[in-house]
């Protein structure tokens, strides 16, 4: 830190480096913080390629990324509200892991979306728990094993205490950042902001690296400041098949194809070879998608935000 080399504040590295250096076996990893938008598939696939093991995945809903990582044997534990394929239904790898311990047993810690948001909010706020009325009366509260009923210190009324979670790493896909990690995200934010604040390390994956002046021109859009960020990865189309507002749309067909091709274990292995293990990088993945498919997902009509004047 005392080394004042000119580029000392750049946090840029390749996905390969970021995952190798900052996602050790056994780490708890937040993925899919913006729900169906900006799911960091490229990061998850790199974790699969690097044969990460015993990961504890954290996220509200994962929309097939968790299913893929579970199927690839990277995962020991899942702390989530929902695991499946949002537009197509069930996640078959998740089912095989839970029902048959294939390829390995996975512990599922069931949360609801709200309570999963609260574990991260508690972590971000720096408190050991947060209270909620949600999950009262549900079996989720009983089987989850982490939440606990208690009485309000004022009225004694029943509440649920949701314990704080501080993931080892949060991987957040975003539209743009500067090399210091100051990051602009727009669209639905899900649990990304609290996730980045709760996590011990933050890897930001972006469509575009821009000059610091672009980010600094709108400090309200900087929902993840660089000083919270460990690594910045420039990985265009790194969220495919999920959408990135202003950059590309959702590849609905890809989700449906995965649904069909993951139903049987042997088909899933082929899918994994084709889209993850058999290629070396996101670049190759995009090549394999083909220009036509990539093109068809592109922005057809731009819609720019009205400027805000920070002048004085």
């Amino acid at each position: 830190m005392s080394n004042a080399a000119p580029d000392r504040t750049s946090k840029m590295m390749s996905m390969q480096q970021a995952v190798a250096q900052h996602v050790p076996d056994g780490a708890s990893v937040l993925l899919g913080a913006q729900l169906e938008q900006m799911i960091p598939f490229a990061a998850g696939h790199e974790m699969i390629r690097q044969r990460k093991r015993n990961l504890a995945l954290v996220g509200p809903i994962s929309d097939i990324l968790f299913d893929q990582m579970i199927g690839a044997g990277c995962v020991a534990r899942v702390q989530a509200a929902w695991v499946g394929n949002v537009s197509a239904g069930m996640g078959y790898c998740f089912r095989r892991a839970i029902e048959q311990s294939v390829p390995r047993a996975v512990e599922m810690v069931d949360y609801s979306n709200f309570t999963l948001a609260l574990v991260l909010h508690a972590g971000a706020l720096g408190v050991p728990f947060l209270p909620t009325y949600s999950t009262l009366g549900s079996d989720l509260l009983k089987s989850n094993g982490e939440m606990r009923e208690f009485g309000s210190p004022f009225s004694g009324e029943k509440l649920v205490a949701v314990p704080a979670l501080t993931p080892d790493v949060a991987v957040i896909h975003a539209q743009r950042a500067d090399k210091h990690g100051n990051t602009h995200i727009w669209g639905n934010l899900g649990v990304a902001v609290d996730g980045a604040r709760a996590a011990k390390k933050v890897i930001v994956v972006v469509e575009e690296i821009v000059e610091p002046e672009v980010i600094a021109s709108d400090p309200n859009r900087t929902v993840i400041p660089g000083f919270l960020v460990t690594a910045v990865v420039h990985e265009p189309r790194g969220a495919h098949p999920s959408p990135v507002q202003g950059y590309y749309g959702r590849d609905h067909a890809f989700f449906h194809q995965y649904h069909e091709q993951s139903r049987k274990l042997e088909d899933f292995q082929k899918w994994l070879d084709r889209w993850v293990l058999g290629i070396r990088s996101r670049g190759e993945y995009v090549e394999q998608l083909g220009e036509c498919r990539v093109e068809s997902l592109g922005v057809r009509e731009h819609a720019y935000s009205a400027p805000a004047d920070f002048g004085y």
Binding site: I61, G84, E99, L118, Y133, D139, G187
Partner: protein, 280 residues
């Protein structure tokens, strides 16, 4: 139909029930069973209400309500999107780009869930693998041929069932889905009956309001038990009973579910011209 196909938490996969069954075809009535369910769901929304919308049939229902009797309704999506003016295109997920552009607000999940916990959300739509006699929902553990089947889980369903003023469920009407007692309460309804919700600590103004199935609409009596409130056109009462996993009580004011009106149908078909959700 394999009900172990997962549900997105706040979506109703009920339509898939209809899709594969003979009833799915338009039998000369001028609308499909799914269209009837959508119209029935739309009528659960009152003008100006705040609605946890979900996807699939409930999404269509919200859009139909907006274009007909409830232009002032507000749609909330748990990913952080709030819309007064519905997206101009058919959505597959609530974070599809058309749902973000021009939204009333894009924020965090907590932003939206907070409004729910404040008790300000009037109605939430849910799907389920199982619903029971007291309106409890299960989207966590199913069973098939004696084997336990792991379903995707709660998503936001448990939150909505706990905290929204009224909950409306959409699902296929079969004995496997309408059961005496759900195997796992993912999303609490009336528990084991009267006063159960208050005893659990759930908000006074919350709870299940309607279960819209492929055969009829169930509502809840003062004891918290579901009873048949309306029956869809051309459906026989014995069919409903035979497809319900408990001795279903029938309202003294049982009526026929009103068919979709022309303006409701045209709204639906304008939104989903190829019948992706309702007719395929």
């Amino acid at each position: 139909m394999d009900f172990t196909e997962g549900n997105h938490p706040i979506t109703a996969k009920a339509h898939t029930a209809a899709l594969g069954s003979p009833a799915a075809t338009d039998s000369g009535r001028g609308y499909s069973p799914s269209e009837l369910m959508v119209a029935a769901a739309a009528r659960e929304i009152r003008d100006g209400e705040w609605v946890f919308v979900g996807m699939r049939l409930p999404m269509l229902a919200f859009l139909v309500a907006k274009r007909t009797h409830a232009p002032g309704a507000i749609g909330l999506y748990e990913n952080g999107v709030i819309r007064e003016h519905p997206a101009p295109e058919l959505l597959y997920t609530m974070a599809d780009p058309p749902n973000l552009r021009g939204a009333t607000q894009c924020g965090t999940m907590l932003d939206v869930m907070s409004l729910l916990q404040q008790g300000r959300v009037n109605v939430g739509f849910l799907g389920a693998a199982e619903v029971d006699r007291f309106g409890n929902l299960n989207t966590t553990w199913g069973s098939r041929e004696g084997q336990k089947v792991r379903l995707p889980g709660s998503g936001g369903a448990c939150d909505i069932a706990c905290l929204s003023q009224r909950t409306v469920v959409l699902l296929e009407h079969t004995r496997a889905r309408l059961v005496e007692r759900v195997a796992y309460i993912t999303s609490p309804g009336n528990g084991s009956g009267k006063n159960w919700r208050r005893a659990q600590g759930l908000p006074a103004r919350s709870g299940p309001s309607a279960v819209i199935t492929t055969l009829g609409v169930l509502r809840f009596d003062a004891g918290g038990e579901a009873m048949l409130s309306s029956i869809h056109p051309d459906v026989q009462l014995e069919d409903v009973r035979a497809n319900t996993g408990w001795p279903l009580r029938v309202s003294e004011e049982l009526r026929e579910t009103p068919p979709p009106r022309a303006e409701e149908l045209s709204a639906m078909r304008e939104i989903d011209p190829h019948g992706f959700w309702t007719r395929k």
